[in-house]
């Protein structure tokens, strides 16, 4: 759900895609030969299902949505730090979270998928290469390009004096 939720932004639609993924996997169980790990096989079905869904919906990745704002507002990791952080640093953390998530959501699907599989799902480059059916060099390049795009958006924020004091 974490992966699909990053590809399909609407919560209800993402859940539909997840359900469809499990149904497809169940139907295709007899075709699973064990050449790859089960979870990479399942990830692959999930990504393809999400891609097909987005194509049939004729959607492009949103560049900035209400969802971004909600996500930024719901960014609660600062809760535990609130006692020791200043209001300025809490605000800076929220701005950083908003910027990173907005930049993520604006990434092309292939870059977004690659960095989600690496940073959130914790897959190795080899596993991502299996899931995305592309060479490891392409995985390396996609992850790097995704990081570059996000980093470009983030650098100005990290130069803020408030953040440097953190």
């Amino acid at each position: 759900m974490r992966l699909v939720g990053r590809l399909v932004h609407d919560q209800a639609e993402a859940e539909d895609v997840v359900q469809e993924t499990f149904i497809k996997a169940f139907r295709a169980l007899r075709h699973f030969r064990g050449d790859s790990a089960f979870y990479t096989w399942l990830y692959r079905i999930g990504i393809n299902t999400a891609k097909n869904f987005l194509v049939t919906q004729g959607r492009r990745a949103p560049t900035s949505t209400e969802n971004d704002v909600e996500r930024a507002e719901g960014f609660d990791d600062a809760e535990s730090l609130r006692d020791i952080n200043t209001p300025e640093s809490v605000l800076a953390s929220k701005q950083i979270a908003y910027t990173v998530n907005a930049a993520m959501d604006a990434l092309p699907l292939e870059l977004r998928t690659a960095i989600v599989l690496r940073e959130i799902e914790g897959l190795s480059y080899e596993e991502i290469s299996e899931v995305m059916a592309c060479p490891i060099g392409t995985v390396r390049s996609r992850i790097f390009r995704a990081r570059e795009v996000i980093a470009d958006k983030l650098r100005p924020l990290l130069d803020m004096p408030g953040h440097k004091r953190k």
């Binding site: 939720g5 190795s124 390049s141 992850i143 790097f144």
Partner: protein, 109 residues
């Protein structure tokens, strides 16, 4: 790709423990400089922020709904038997010869 960008790509792969052996020295050398260390910190910062957001929880009826859909699915193994039986039955039906009782495969799924 310019040199700085190439170096950052080495750092990106190195941060993931996925540097080719030939590039490890390049990444380590890059990390001796301020730019390299800043890039290293920035990439890790991005990962930290992404991992903090757990995403929305599944809706309450999700598991029950998925279970109901799965329960409605034929078992994968029986699907094979059913399709084989259907093919055999179709072949038998296409035949002009009468099929002896009990010889035609019957789908039990």
């Amino acid at each position: 790709m310019d040199t700085h960008k190439k170096i950052r790509e080495h750092i990106s792969a190195f941060a993931d423990g996925a540097s080719p052996a030939a590039d490890v020295d390049l990444a380590l050398a890059a990390l001796q400089g301020d730019d390299g260390r800043q890039t290293w910190a920035l990439y890790h910062h991005i990962g930290d922020v992404l991992r903090v957001d757990p995403g929305p929880p599944l809706s309450p009826g999700f598991a029950a709904s998925l279970a109901a859909r799965l329960a409605a699915e034929p078992l994968p193994g029986k699907r094979v038997a059913a399709s084989a039986a259907a093919a055999a039955a179709a072949a038998a039906a296409a035949s002009t010869e009468p099929v002896p009782a009990g010889a035609a495969p019957v789908a039990s799924a």
